[in-house]
Structure formats: C-alpha cells, structure tokens
Symmetry: C2
Subunit: 333 residues, 2 copies
Amino acid sequence: MSQKIFVSAKEVAERAGVSRSAVSRTFTPGASVSEETRRRVMEAAEALGYHVNHLARGLMRNESGIVCLIVSEMDTPYRASLIRAISRHLQNAAKIAMLINTDRSDRSVDEALKLAISYRADASIVLSGMPDKSITDLCVKSGQRLVLINRDEERAGALMINLRDQEAARRAFIAFQRAGCRSFAFANSDVGTPSLMAREEGFRAAGREFGIDVTVERFGPTRYQSGVVLAQRLLTREVRPDAIFCANDLLACGVMDTARHQFKLAVPDDLCVVGFDDIEQSSWSSYQLTTFAQPVDRIAEEAVSWLSQPMTDDGQFCRMTADLVWRESVRGG
Amino acid sequence: MSQKIFVSAKEVAERAGVSRSAVSRTFTPGASVSEETRRRVMEAAEALGYHVNHLARGLMRNESGIVCLIVSEMDTPYRASLIRAISRHLQNAAKIAMLINTDRSDRSVDEALKLAISYRADASIVLSGMPDKSITDLCVKSGQRLVLINRDEERAGALMINLRDQEAARRAFIAFQRAGCRSFAFANSDVGTPSLMAREEGFRAAGREFGIDVTVERFGPTRYQSGVVLAQRLLTREVRPDAIFCANDLLACGVMDTARHQFKLAVPDDLCVVGFDDIEQSSWSSYQLTTFAQPVDRIAEEAVSWLSQPMTDDGQFCRMTADLVWRESVRGG
DNA sequence: CCCGCTCTTGCAAGCGTGTGCAAAGGTTTC
DNA sequence: GAAACCTTTGCACACGCTTGCAAGAGCGGG
C-alpha cells in the first residue's frame, strides 16, 4: 500500500489536459502562464493532492529553501526562545529549518553538518556558543549564506548580529552605583563565548572608568549550577560583594538562590544582582530579576529577512541594544 | 564566485578513473564494489571535497532521511529538552530533523507542513499538544511514519508513546495523604491536552477511590502565569486546599510562588505541591519541587529507534512510567 | 579446454523538476 | 493586409543520483 503515494506533475498535466511544463510554470512564481491554464492546473492539482517535490526542485534550481540552525544547549531558555522565533519567521518566509545539535563536540557534529550540506542547505544560522571555526568554514565552503548570532567571528559575506554588550555592562555598573553598592563582582562561566567575554570586559572597563575594583569569578558552563558555585566563591570572600553582574540570567538565578537560601542574604537589600537575556524565569516572582532583554524577535526577523536579500560580498554587521528591564533585584530603579 | 561550488559524482569518477556508478556504489552501503576501487574513489572524493547530494539521492530512493518535528510552544522547558534529546538521537541515526512550529494555528502551519511534505520527509514526530487531527492526517496520507508523543490519538501504523499519567496521579494523591493533607486540589490549564486530562482524571479517580473530594481548577495555557491565577483562585476558596497537584511543573512554579509571596504560605508546611515533567527549574533551590520525571531521553531513543525498524501495519503503544522525584515541596518523603 | 559460478563494472534508463528555445496564436500598428 | 510584437505553450535537455541488466574478469571443477 505504501508505494506510489505521491502524484507527479506529469499526472496533473494529463488530468488538466496541458503539458507538464505548464504545471511546472503554474507553481513557479513569475512564470508565464495564462489565467485559464493556471486555473485548470490548480484544479487538477487540488483534486489529486499534488505538492511540488522540493527535492527535485532543489536539484534543478540549485537552491533548496533549507536553512540550517546550528545550535548547542538548545534546551536553555534563551536559546529555545530564539529557535522558536527563528523557526516562526522562516516559516513565514516559506523556508524551512533543519536542526543541528552541536552539544557533543565529537565527530557526530561533523557528520550532522555534512548531512545538512548534503541537503544543499542555502544558509546556516549559528547560535552555538561553541567557537569552533571549522564548522562555519565548512558552511562557507559549501556556498551557504551565514548568519552568526552573538559571535565575534568576522566573516566576509556573513551577517553578524551582536548586542552592545559592553554598553549594557556599563549601564549595569551605573545602576549598581546608583543603588549605593560598594563592592562589585562579575560572575561568568568559563566557556569564553565572545558575547559573555564582552560583558565581562565591559564591566571591567566601567570599573576602571570609575576607579573601582571589580572582582571576576569564572566557573563551569553557563548554567544555574555554575551560578551556585560562583555565589559560593564570591560570597565567602573577605570583602563580600554587594553587587553582582551575571553574564547570564541562568547564572543570576543560581546566584540569587544561593545568596538567599545558603547565605541568608536579602536581595536587593544586602546584594544587588543584574542578569542578561531576560529569560522567562527572570520575571517569576521568586526572582524578579533586573536584567537586559535580548531582542529575540528582532534578531530572528533580521536574520531571516537578510537571507532573502541579495548577497553582498563583504560582511555586514548588525548591532542591537539590549534594553534594561527593571525589576526588584537592584535597589532604587 | 558562487557558481559551481559542488563537485558531482561524475567529477570524482573522472579523477578516480572509474565510472559514475562505481562512485555511487562506494557511497551506498551494501553495494558491490571491490576494495581497490572503493579506495581510489574515496581518495578522489576526499581530494575534491565530494558529498553525496541528498536531494538527488532522496529523489531516486524515494526516501529522504528527513524527519520532521512538529511542535508547539517549543521554548517551554520540557519541550525544549525533548527536542534536544530527539535531535541528538536522530543525528546518531544519520537522520536529520526538520522543525515545524505549530504555535499559530492559522494557515502558516498548514503551509509549513505542506512544505515538509514537499521535502518528502520519511517520518514525523509530533510533540505538539494541539489536538489538530488534520495535521497527522496529512502526514499519514503522505506515507510518513508517525510518532505521537503524549497524545491519545490512536492511529494504525503509528507509534504512540505515553506515560502512565493516571498511575502517577494516584501516587501523588497517596503522597499527599501520607503528608497528612486534608483538602486536595488539581490545577490544570484549559487546553485539554490528553496527557494533562489523564493526570486530572487520575487524580479525581484517586479521590473517588479514597472517598475524598477533589477540587479542580482550570485556566489558560500550560504556563507559569496560569499557575499564578490558579493559585489565586484555589487559595481564596472557603476551604483552602493544603495539597495541590499541578498538571505541569510550570504551573507548579506559578502556584508555589504565588502561595509563598502573595498568600504568605509555607511550602510544604502549609501547602504541599506536586508537579509533573521534572523540568530543570524544579530542582532550583527556590522550588525544590517534588515532581514526576518524564524519561525524556528514553522517549527520544524509543521514537528514533522505532523509525529504523520495519513498518508494521497496526499501531504500537509504548507506555512509560514517570518516576517520582522527591524533593521538598511535600512533607515527609 | 570448457562450463558454470561469483564478483565487479559500465551502460543506460529513470526519479520529478526547471527552463531556454522555437513555434504558434493573437493583437496592434502602419 | 502585412509586418512587428507580445503572450503562451510544448519540446527536450539538464540536474545528480540509484539501480537493473548484461557483459567482463577471474577461477575452480569436471
């Protein structure tokens, strides 16, 4: 029963009493078909349940309509919301997303990527923190368009979307100062993703600018549990920080929870915390975290719309501002 | 510069001094090629950077290696972790995932699905709560294999993975009883997903079994904010519940936060809460939620491995147990 | 030495499309 | 009425691959 499920253009043509080319042209935007034939073709197609075979179309046109999403730790709230936004925008643009999971850095990633290339994906959107350049190399070598989100890698022909991380870090610093904080710390993971490092550097720079010492601690992956460890390290220092800027909301949640439950500190009275990303959890009443919102939807929109624009030779930068969302984890505001 | 990027089997054949068929056979597992030719082909392929064009291969073989993931609310922690697990397992099986976002129930979903079908996806894995049968109809009609996760829809030829929701609900009920709770409530969203309804029904049934009344409240989508509203409704009742089983961890987080911060209740002293899914947030120290763990990885493994098995005509059921993870939101334990 | 067998290889026919080209048909212009 | 033009249509080839088929190569047995 499973054989011969799909109808081909040929069958539609026969039913409609036209040539196969006419069918093809009916489904090709901008092709020359009379209103009458188009109508008859559409009718026959409807009746037979015809869908253009995109494998064949991709083969001919040498463009598949496939966009691959290269992403690690996709179950992280920020990443997940970005994937969602991108997939929605791709769908609106009549493109389709292929998902490549780069969590394990072993050869399986390479295989998956090669697989995606084998499907002749037109473009790749990289939202993986992993700074593995060989991956993006492979994409470019395969003639794909490339969108890099929150990476500092510079590439001819690619679209690079970044946030003004340093500027945000400076704003966080100033917010802490306004709240009357004295001892400043930055809590980072040790993965060294460009955007995270930019936040750290921005915070350090603000410290230098205002002549205030900044303590920096780094540990583990960019997750809640690392926040716990970072808080334990920072809050047992001789001079206990009363302001912690976290590279990420997940870290911030870990820091807040640990400060409150393990060290019995009140936030924001004893300790001010600022995060980054504005994940959903930050708005939960246990956290009410003051944080910088990534313009997720605008990032997705920008990335997808760029894919439909004609290719330029040089790279293009797109810097966005992360707005500060005031909640309750910093005094004042 | 962009033209003529990909090398074809023909070019590899020329370089290796063999026929195009030999190249094809080299990359077809189980085909008949001598060790010598295989070596020479591989060498040439390596040198030229050849990848089999899966569009063409899919066209010939009438199977594409593409599996589409049909999912709504993919930024929800449970869904995101499931997507991650599935994509990893698919990659190991040398298949590739296409992502279909069914958040908006308008025509764009239909379009996206048709698009996936146009790529001749071999299978669909549905982890969308949305009970839109027309979607799965379309998949089956296109000869796809179908995996339904946490849906009660019954389908010939499909694999249906479900949890023993009712049994879990009964265990929750008993845990509440052991903790000495008197007044039982179930907090549900109003989307009516089968698995959520099964939990509700299981909890109700346990109430009948033990001769205890169960209050049920339903509201909104299955998210944190609904939990807030549900708690407000439940905790202002004349007889205030001291045990709330939530259909979902997100609801549970909303319920706990509201109970604590708005109603100044202590969990678990004044109120016991049990959730479902065991999302990451449940283990955060602000919640320490006792909950049922979905065996995410086993679900993914089961789904993917089934895709590689020969098709049987009748449907196949796979029921898994959700283990109770004891934390601190229920007394005793 | 020939037959039959196994293993390998090339040929060529497809898979379902898009599209250049030329022919056909229709309309306008002079 | 003819010429010039535009629109529409069908033919046929190309895209890169798989695979049935038959022919070739090698080899042992009778």
